[in-house]
Amino acid sequence: MGIGLIDWGILVGTLIFIVAYGTYKSRGNKNVTDYLKGGNNAKWWTIGLSVMATQASAITFLSTPGQAFHDGMGFVQFYFGLPLAMVVICLVFIPLYHKLKVFTAYEYLESRFDLKTRTLTAIFFLIQRGLAAGITIFAPAIILSAVLKWNLIYLNIIIGLLVVIYTVSGGTKAVNITQKQQMAIIFGGLFIAFLIILNLLPLDVSFTNALEIAGANGKMEILDFSFDLENRYTVWTGLIGGTFLMLSYFGTDQSQVQRYLSGRSVKESQMGLIMNGLLKVPMQFFILLIGVMVFVFYQFNSSPLNFNPAATENVLQSEYAEEYQELQERKSELELDLKSVQTAYARSIDVSEKETLIRKIQDLNLAETELRTQSKTLIEQANPGAETNDKDYVFIHFILNNLPTGLIGLLLAVILSAAMSSTASELNALGSTTAIDLYKRNNEGRDERHYVRMSKWFTLLWGVIAILVACFANLFDNLIQLVNIIGSIFYGNILGVFLLAFFVKFVKGKAVFIGAIITQIIVAYVWWIDIMPYLWLNALGCILVMVIAILLQLSLGGKEEINPT
């Protein structure tokens, strides 16, 4: 499958414009504050958009609609803790970071504890975020290369290079400026896509009808108040687990901290995060709603058994091809029945008739889900270890097969813009942390230009590392999961150290440093013996480091002096 000349023009034009505009507008950084904090000039809406653009990677726009297509709107609950986290960060983190005039979150830990604790957390961050930056490039590249038959390596290099150009030359200012353009493209593209999907529904299917059809098939179950630990998305996991996760991400991850450190005042930084707190839940709801509307669209139109073209190709070339084709034929028959019942439902005004039809629709969709499950079994049998979950491919399949010329280019620009905006923040943060926490701290007394030059070199170095990780990622099975695991091994520990710093005043540097080392060993061991799902390692690390450091401090007593600052 390829895209037309107009789409290419829009895609390439948009990306070149972003890179050129960002590079041009951010030229002439004179000192470290200019380069790493954007001259401390950012207004609240710039910070808000930048924070949102950093969190929303390409996978957000590829995966989330697919998630809603298969499992409905429940994923929105994952974000319920975000506003609470924003308030805590505004109340505690931002005033402190601004008052101490830090460039990185880890710099604060030296003033609170000591140099070794600062260096340790900075290194933890560099390891996990360095790998994650590669995956931010690789994840959309693998999907686009599978669907559009683009060369994966070239795509990795192109995305990486485009980001490197403006991030290295313009630093934080370039990241902030480009993220405003990228968010405008993302919001505009998604809004137009939503309107087009509604327009593609049959004439007698209103928006309310579409929501009724989605609701009848379990896609509108937004809230789950149960205490079922097996269920990943409930109101409680969102409010409790989500708050901790968002607190550690927005409060201690330099790729986010750097966004609001660029604010011209404490208030501007706080307002930026409040903007994120106001818009994030509706934004995720809207993206999920797009996925649900894509589901309704496919109630009236043909869809593949599995949206991943590589998986389908694989199985059709295997000994299971005949069985798979049989499933495809059964699905085609089901689709015909489904379309006629859906149309009858949309036209019906009689309540009891509607109820009968809804039950038929539910039965037909259950039968379709069963066929999809059987197809996944065949895909796995044809290629053991193959990725059978096709949620990442649902929306891109819809885009490429149903949107008009021009809009396909725009939506591809949305996806690549999202990839670039997240990667830019990551490289910017990796470069800053290496320059400030490792290099400058150990090489004091040089002039500002030297540190700016070194920051640029470090950003470039991390850009090269991210591209290399992206290029080699395909050689490993489940590399994305591996990176998430590595993140979970370090994240909880870092959050625990920060929570100790903020809220447990009597704990000092030595106890925290030893506690962090012991925690890291225990968490790595717990992961190694595989006794709990890896996401729980976050909570384990956080609790462990706090308990160990407090116990150590109690046993050390007053032996350790308060860190002189």
Partner: protein, 42 residues
């Protein structure tokens, strides 16, 4: 390294702004709206 004010001084001044109440309130309203939307269509 230049002398920095101790973190405890900064921590003592938690200033609650109206915007924090607003963001929490509006998000509570989102959840209530989701509840009614779900009630209507499920």
């Amino acid at each position: 390294m230049e002398e920095q004010p101790h973190h405890q001084n900064a921590l003592e001044k938690f200033i609650w702004r109206k915007s924090y109440t607003l963001v929490l309130l509006i998000n509570a309203i989102y959840i209530i709206l989701f509840y009614f939307l779900m009630k209507k269509f499920v």
